[in-house]
């Protein structure tokens, strides 16, 4: 860029700074010379750097300086010298040294250790004696004392220490408040060739217009103005936009896909009786999945009500003896009180059970979906959470079959960005056949397990729908799909609500 153009694009702040650049080398000097505040001067320098007029160099300077005790020792002498002087004049028991030398208890202890290690003193029956080495030492200036003096003259950079000073420094570092290391951040700059010629160029009329104002437009004065040139390539500060939570963006998308495929959304509660969550889904009352360690039971209100007798009796008879269909059932005495207990839904399949119970035959064929929160009583870690998302679907159509189930699941996985899906045999008490869905993760080159699907057993559909028809059903987890998409590796990060994360998280773009 030629210098003329640069001059025309200078901001008033830069115009103030440019003339003093030649005589300054640091931000501090620029502030002193121009009288600008630090932020203004820094901004001007950064803009000039963008224009390649100068280069800002940030330096961190460390300086070893005297701390409170150091300053005191400089005046009074090091405690160990005072200790040694005191005991060289008279033999004293340890406990009296403090008062005699004016040292506190802690200093006395430190001195004892220090001087003993230097063999400057010897202790005999609790009486401290100065050794020959000690007496010699008293006559000389010590390395530590020389170092204190040097520091008192304005501090030393750690890199500038002589070997002797380094020795003293290492000792002082371990002791209390003798020295400290101050860190000073220095902003320095160097002029480039452009910068140098800039400082030699006349700044010209300072009256170039910075902003176009409504007044200029009203009175036509804009016609006489030249507008300062902007650096249009400059990076601008980020703005925060309003934004949906990334998990909700993904679940909204999943809903949209199901709606496109002709599915109707199911609604329902999170708190349900065991009857709907387990019994209606032909899960025997002693099945381990109903254990307290997996399931959130409610302490209050502990129990709910059972639905009308037809459904309850149908379910009871199915559990006990397979109802009136050719099934053995689970062959035990079903207990209505167990079914009354309230739980937080362990799967969205509870919505399917309720939907089937309410569905009339004239509404067949019918397809339903839900995407919702489910609950599991377990400790949190990177791959376990007590709340998780499932997507649920059912197809009620006498003509459906297993191949259709696989067809729907495959298509849905495709829409979520997984072109390869695999199906494995699985087991759930309420579906037969049962399927486990895996999708192939192209970048990790591995199969990722997503969860289950199947065809509802007649033991489920007969009490709820009144007939043995193959109701296709699925309820895989949705969290892993979201984690893969957003690059989240810890499940808890889906709900940590760190606003910075929310502001910067990528948009769901499928």
């Amino acid at each position: 860029m030629d210098v003329e153009k640069i001059v025309a694009s200078l901001h008033p702040l830069e115009r103030k700074v440019v003339p003093v650049l030649k005589e300054c080398g640091t931000l501090k000097e620029v502030i002193e010379k121009t009288g600008l505040c630090e932020a203004e001067a820094m901004r001007a320098l950064q803009w000039l750097e963008n224009k390649e007029a100068l280069k800002i160099i940030s330096e961190v300077k460390e300086l070893i300086q005297l701390n409170s005790n150091g300053k005191e020792y400089l005046k009074k002498g090091l405690p160990e010298r005072r200790f040694l002087e005191t005991v060289s004049k008279q033999l004293l028991p340890i406990r009296k040294i403090g008062t005699a030398s004016g040292l506190n208890e802690e200093e006395v202890t430190v001195c004892l250790g220090l001087l003993k290690s230097k063999a400057a003193i010897a202790i005999d029956n609790g009486i401290v004696e100065v050794t020959k080495i000690g007496q010699e030492a008293l006559k000389k200036e010590w390395l530590e004392e020389a170092f204190l003096k040097r520091l008192s003259a304005g501090g030393v950079a750690p890199t500038a220490l002589t070997p002797e000073e380094q020795f003293a420094y290492d000792i002082f570092k371990k002791r209390k408040d003798i020295i400290k290391t101050d860190v000073e951040k220095i902003k320095r700059f160097e002029l480039t060739d452009i910068g140098k010629s800039l400082t030699e160029t006349e700044m010209g009329d300072l009256e170039t217009a910075d902003r176009l104002t409504p007044e200029m437009l009203k009175d036509g004065s804009w016609k006489d103005k030249t507008f300062r040139r902007y650096d249009v390539t400059i990076n601008v500060p980020k703005v925060n936009r309003g934004k949906r939570h990334f998990v909700n963006q993904a679940t909204d998308y999943a809903k949209q896909v199901w709606v496109e495929l002709g599915f109707k959304e199911m609604e329902g509660t999170h708190v349900n009786t065991c009857f709907w969550n387990f019994d209606a889904l032909f899960t025997a009352q002693d099945h381990p999945v109903r254990d307290m360690q997996d399931t959130f039971y409610l302490k209050s209100p502990k129990e709910g009500k059972l639905p009308d007798n037809t459904v309850v009796n149908g379910v009871k008879s199915m559990h006990e003896k397979g109802g009136n269909i050719e099934s053995t059932g689970w062959q035990y005495a079903w207990n209505g009180d167990v079914a009354k207990k309230n739980v937080l839904r362990t799967h969205t399949t509870v919505l399917s059970a309720k939907t089937l119970a309410a569905l009339k035959k004239e509404d067949w064929p019918a397809k339903y979906f839900a995407v919702g929160r489910c609950f599991r009583n377990e400790a949190m870690d990177w791959c376990h959470l007590f709340e998780f998302n499932q997507f649920e679907g059912i197809v009620v159509d006498p003509e459906s079959n297993f191949r259709n189930l696989l067809g729907y699941l495959k298509l849905f996985m495709n829409k979520l960005g997984f072109p390869k899906a695999r199906f494995r045999p699985a087991y759930f008490p309420y579906t037969e056949p049962s399927v486990e869905i895996d999708v192939y993760h192209p970048t990790h080159e591995k199969w990722v397990e997503l969860g289950g699907a199947g065809i509802f057993r007649p033991e489920v559909t007969v009490p709820l729908l009144g007939e043995t028809i193959p109701v296709l059903a699925w309820g895989p987890g949705f969290d892993r799909i979201m984690m893969e998409y957003y690059g989240v590796t810890d499940l808890r990060d889906l709900y940590k609500n760190d606003l910075k994360q929310l502001r910067t998280m990528k948009q769901w773009m499928r």
């Binding site: 309003g242 381990p288 079959n401 191949r403 699941l409 709900y495 910075k500």
Partner: protein
């Protein structure tokens, strides 16, 4: 799910074919088990709970061998009558009414085989036996006991024996508190007047099911060649199947099975009964269910790969299968044998109309409006704790509580949303201000008129947090929301402990209260450790939506 370790060498001997690691990794999951690992010498699998017969190496290999076409069809086992009896005293009816028993002879035990037998027993106890509650298994060296056996119930203070791995004799009641197995499983007998026992012809106690065997008569060793096996529980059918699973596994090790006569008061029964169950194969049903067009022959061939027999239109179900309740179970096995990977996925041409739940559409519209005025949406848990919901907010709402939550920070269901947002503000003190956030979510209130006693509402809460925040700002947001939804609302003065007195309003629509709005009380901010002013409102979307729908 129970995991089972298979010794690779033993396994492939049983299967009758050596397979490469790749073949094992590919085939094992397709039979309906989760493969964990194929290692140097061991294979780790997780068996689904519907297949207790696959919990042993023998049972697993039997199923796998058929599946890969090596040894297909029904396996038959010879049961010779032993002529020995088990007398079941009516006194057990009230504590543990049933047992199924057998003798197994010609065993060749070594350490490895004993390990296998213990593994089968333990896995069956945990899964099929529901931690011994439903069912427990005992094995006893035949050389130490004298037939016939008696199964009876007696006052636990009156019966004494030396429990397994114990130095001394104890009374049955003492065992519950003094023996490790007694402490683990004692709750299954606690409070009963009489405990169940097995004893031999000399009256020596063999065991106290489901807790512990006797040390003297109930310990299997390398020298044991003949055993007495019993399964006791509450359902005879379950006991029978469990016995069948064990004796067939032992028979696959090379042993011989002998039946016993069980003298129940209602009549005599002979166990084990290893005759296959006959079920009429419903070919059209299975084809319809699976979307296939298989002939009866093709279907019976598939079922042979799952270990079934077939005889003139009837499927022969092995006596060790616990999971065949209905024709669908046979359909699934046909599907597994057919290979899930061989099914052609197909979307049927069924016309149905897709639709989102209207309230969910409404909820998204509300979120979009708030996003449009620059708010950031959060997503927090439904679960929280009473301190956050009540104490820190200066209120006392009755909450729906959870039983035995593992994580005590999350043991109630939230009754309102603003505390959830306060928590977000608390966690984000180091992030840039202003922090203007909102969330839509479910809130839970006690309500006896509902099916569960809990009523659930959809709510939206907004909190504005920053130096410039005040009542006007938050009211602007609410006003904008109602404007966008074309809803007229009224505000009136009110008091609420979570808000500054004189700066809180109740909002109503058509005479129904739907929201609180105000500047959050500095005491609340202090309790949360939030050092910036907060203004907030919380609006009941369920109520608002009802209003919109009527009008």
């Amino acid at each position: 799910m129970p995991s089972v370790k298979l010794n690779k060498q033993v396994f492939s001997n049983l299967v009758g074919k050596e397979l490469s690691d790749e073949e094992l990794s590919e085939q094992i999951p397709m039979i309906g088990t989760d493969l964990e690992n194929v290692g140097e010498t061991e294979i780790d699998v997780e068996v689904f709970p519907n297949r207790p017969d696959m919990l042993s190496e023998q049972g697993f290999a039997r199923a796998f061998s058929a599946f890969i076409g090596e040894k297909i069809g029904l396996r038959t086992y010879t049961v010779k009558p032993s002529g020995s009896k088990v007398i079941i005293d009516p006194s057990v009816a009230a504590v543990r009414p049933y047992t199924a028993c057998a003798l197994v002879k010609n065993l060749k035990f070594d350490d490895e085989k004993i390990r296998e037998v213990i593994q089968i027993q333990e896995k069956l106890h945990v899964t099929f036996g529901r931690n011994r509650k439903k069912l427990a298994i005992g094995l006893y060296p035949l050389e130490k006991i004298k037939l016939p056996i008696k199964y009876f119930a007696e006052d636990p203070n009156k019966v004494k024996f030396q429990p397994l791995e114990s130095e001394q004799e104890m009374s049955a009641i003492q065992i519950l508190s003094k023996h490790p197995a007694g402490r683990d499983y004692g709750h299954l007998l606690e409070g009963k007047d009489k405990f169940p026992f097995f004893s031999d012809a000399d009256g020596a106690i063999l065991s106290m099911p489901p807790i512990i065997n006797s040390h003297r008569t109930g310990k299997i060793g390398k020298d044991t060649t003949e055993v007495f096996i019993e399964c006791s529980g509450f359902d005879l059918n379950t006991c029978n199947i469990c016995l069948n699973i064990i004796v067939t596994a032992l028979a696959d090790m090379g042993a011989d099975i002998y039946s016993m006569e069980l003298e129940y008061s209602e009549g005599k029964k002979i166990t084990p009964d290893l005759d296959a169950r006959r079920i009429k194969l419903d070919v059209p049903f299975i084809n319809r269910w699976l979307g296939l067009e298989l002939t009866e022959d093709q279907m019976s061939e598939l079922l042979a790969k799952m270990g079934y027999g077939f005889d003139s239109g009837f499927v022969l179900v092995p006596a060790y299968r616990a999971d065949i309740l209905h024709m669908v179970d046979i359909a699934e096995d046909a599907a597994i044998a057919y290979g899930y990977e061989n099914f052609e996925p197909e979307i049927p041409n069924v016309a149905t109309i897709g639709e989102e739940a209207p309230i969910e559409v409404f909820r998204r519209r509300i979120a979009d409006i708030l996003v449009g005025i620059g708010l950031l949406e959060t997503n927090t848990y439904n679960l929280t704790n009473a301190e956050d919901q009540n104490t820190k907010m200066g209120v006392d709402i009755k909450l729906a509580e959870l039983e035995s939550a593992v994580n005590t920070d999350y043991n109630v269901l939230r009754a309102w949303m603003i505390p959830s947002l306060m928590k977000v503000l608390q966690d984000n003190k180091s992030n840039e201000y202003p922090q203007n956030i909102f969330e839509t979510g479910t809130c839970f209130k006690l309500d006896e008129t509902t099916e569960t006693g809990v009523n659930e509402f959809l709510r939206v809460a907004v909190t504005l947090c920053g130096a410039e925040v005040d009542f006007t700002r938050i009211k602007q947001v609410l006003d904008c929301l109602f404007d966008a939804a074309s809803v007229e609302y009224e505000s009136r003065e009110t008091e609420h402990p979570s808000f500054i007195s004189g700066r809180v309003a109740r909002i109503s629509v058509a005479g129904i209260d739907v929201a609180y709005i105000g500047e959050v009380n500095p005491q609340v901010l202090e309790d949360w450790g939030v050092e910036m002013p907060v203004a907030a409102f919380e609006l009941n979307l369920t109520e608002l939506y009802k209003h919109l729908k009527i009008n």
